[in-house]
Symmetry: D2
Amino acid sequence: MTALSGFFPPKTASGASALIPSPPWLYSGDLLTVEYRTDPARVRELLPEPLGLAEEDPGAVALIWADWQSCSSGRDELLDPVRAQYKEAFVVVRCSYKGRTYSRCVYIWVDKDFAIARGLHQGYPKKLGSIHQTRPHPFGPAPRIEAGARFGATLAAADRRLAEAVVTLREPSETNGFVNGHPMAHNRWVPSIEKGKGLVLDELIESGGASFEGGKSWRGDADLTLFDAPTEELSRLEIREPIAAYYRQVGVVWDGGRLLESAAQ
Amino acid sequence: MTALSGFFPPKTASGASALIPSPPWLYSGDLLTVEYRTDPARVRELLPEPLGLAEEDPGAVALIWADWQSCSSGRDELLDPVRAQYKEAFVVVRCSYKGRTYSRCVYIWVDKDFAIARGLHQGYPKKLGSIHQTRPHPFGPAPRIEAGARFGATLAAADRRLAEAVVTLREPSETNGFVNGHPMAHNRWVPSIEKGKGLVLDELIESGGASFEGGKSWRGDADLTLFDAPTEELSRLEIREPIAAYYRQVGVVWDGGRLLESAAQ
Amino acid sequence: MTALSGFFPPKTASGASALIPSPPWLYSGDLLTVEYRTDPARVRELLPEPLGLAEEDPGAVALIWADWQSCSSGRDELLDPVRAQYKEAFVVVRCSYKGRTYSRCVYIWVDKDFAIARGLHQGYPKKLGSIHQTRPHPFGPAPRIEAGARFGATLAAADRRLAEAVVTLREPSETNGFVNGHPMAHNRWVPSIEKGKGLVLDELIESGGASFEGGKSWRGDADLTLFDAPTEELSRLEIREPIAAYYRQVGVVWDGGRLLESAAQ
Amino acid sequence: MTALSGFFPPKTASGASALIPSPPWLYSGDLLTVEYRTDPARVRELLPEPLGLAEEDPGAVALIWADWQSCSSGRDELLDPVRAQYKEAFVVVRCSYKGRTYSRCVYIWVDKDFAIARGLHQGYPKKLGSIHQTRPHPFGPAPRIEAGARFGATLAAADRRLAEAVVTLREPSETNGFVNGHPMAHNRWVPSIEKGKGLVLDELIESGGASFEGGKSWRGDADLTLFDAPTEELSRLEIREPIAAYYRQVGVVWDGGRLLESAAQ
């Protein structure tokens, strides 16, 4: 009989076909973060029990663009970059669980299948999208990372633009924002294959980076616009008050999380 | 507190953001099927316990291209066709479970995110790919569905061509092939978020169409070529002997499956 | 010395690399046409001298979606369908030249490079876009071509939706509309490589199908919406009055055009 | 009557729809160059009269990957980066004209329509492709620009991989290679709209950067593989002897060229 290998389907004798390899997963990338306040009721309606609103600044939202190169521990993907490079835009809010504050991704769009699969494992609610952000460059018309530099960022899905931002950097910053600064509290839900039978997996999990390095953060301000779309609710997180925008280059390792609780079936 | 809605993430108060709605899922499409025999050992190595090789013709493989329009019961997707249309190429073998013969998809590539999500639910090991097949047309140079008509079909992933076929139709057929003719026996596997802890969901499920309609099948022959790629093992299912090729237009409804067994954690 | 071959660059000794082969070019496809009236001044501002507004119904516009399979006379592309299939959406108005009425394409988006190159040759002002239209199908939820059938059509470019329509078929029709029914009067303009020196090619040409076959036309009505975008002016052709919508399957051959006049350099 | 505006079609009253604006065009980007020697006869067969082989090292070829952000003088595109970012892979050889040595691009693939249009203006024989190259990054697993750093680069078109390279940097270099170091000698050819009537534009033009800035060049070596494809002849430029590989970040302005000669019609 066969022992199938592979962290993720398709599983085979060798495991070479798996859409994603087992962690650790390594990332190099640029983060462009736009923070603002929305109606806290719009955040609360996205938090399943037993999660509650964060105690302080419960309506704070971060819309983050990220331009990644990622790989497994063998790093082969970096040399076949169609398998390493992807972009994403994601929306983070904060929540509380047993008295502790967590970050939580409520919407996320990526442009590669391996990123979808990693997100499923980590509890990110991933869809495909078209994501672009200005890249810093040392020469020519593209911006350096410096005061006055301007970066554009856009998100579309299903041929509709969902968000666009122009960020102007103002000064170095001690932080890269506060909304995405906690461990993530995510759900992993799998519905029964049998119709109407509810969930067969219903987990609340915690996850965060296993290691992190990064350059100086820059703080600035953003012009951010959210657009309506028939299958998206991003624009319900309406912009009541801008907070700030940030730019940072980082290196991250992700190597698994921790089960917080599981609803038995 | 919040009751989140939606069959699939992202879940929201309304459920409108879910990547896929709850079944039933309705499909209109064209199936181009190429059947051949490979070394049965190459099939066996893809079958996890307790599945075994099919008793008859255990090395039979079907490589199937499908050009779909799909929707939920509300049918809204059909009028915003970027949300309805997708293409796929998938590889089916047969297996036996408790004395019964099943079909099983061992590899599959699609070109939309909603198709990935439906596949995850149904136990299809989906990846993104670039899939093309000649479409029949009543006018001009494209083929009619008739004797002598030729259809091309290609599959690529990660910028590498994985398979290509040219099918020539010969005559009407009583069947559309035999490899994909049984209920599907698929696994649904979810690894623990905690590193090294194995699976938290490990199901063997059965699934098939809830209803089906279709046109006349046509039988013909195929020139099929499989190509190597570093992250794919399709070409291990090497072509030992052609069987036949088929073309059929169908309408299908999928409305859930049945749990065969679950390995408790 | 070398004689380079090929209808279009890149030219090589064999000509095999040319982005497009020499005509004739053969097409099979489905046309979804939405006709409406706009302010004739908005049409006039798109007509270069010596073209003038059409005498009758000068504000009539056709926005046409087309789902094509195309090939050269050798027909090889049909068997490698990534090289044959493409979609387009284009805007046609009418104009007059020396007392004769012509059709003229003022905007067009396609989704393949060979379609861009053919358009350049023919004087179509092509850009890349993302184009979708519902396909008729004999089974399942997709529409048949019949009274009451509904087809959706959308156009996006640069991650912004530019147009969307839902067409409902009502009855067979003697025509497939009237705006796109004349020979095309197009310009072919090439600016000098030397800055500020104007055009080195400035032609007005006439072109039309070399042969045509088609099925029954269906007439219906459309809900059409045009959207603004910073690099597009489609929405300036604002909808003042709907005319009708049409659906037809066709086969077409294009085999060259005729020079009407050329501004000498 | 109307005066149409715009450097390139579609031309309108405002010019805002033009696929590309008038030069100057500004670029920031990373160049990964692989130089090798092929059979000079394979170079010669790509050179139209009156161009001849370069006197020294006539079989030298440069295969160059470039990851660009580009804009017009208004720089708006940089803030809507889907309109600024593109990638390309191109093949350069050298040739002689009237005793002077020129560089010449014989094949090029890009991934955006505005890049195709600029290439048409400049005489680059552009097609669409899928192009990827590893990006340097200061953090995480992606390489820094330093000795021992490894960069992958791949090119595909029509769902087939055409070339792949892995470059290892060894040391700083005084040059970024020599094959792409001369002014470009390109042809601009436009066939008559009338069948069989030959060219209506047949120019030999010269072009080069109007200004240039760049960082330190790095030299290294490459593993380069070229693949056959039915509509491409890149692999005819077979690799006889590697020369070297280079990496450099640059800023470039292009602002028009010069007519060398024109074949009268």
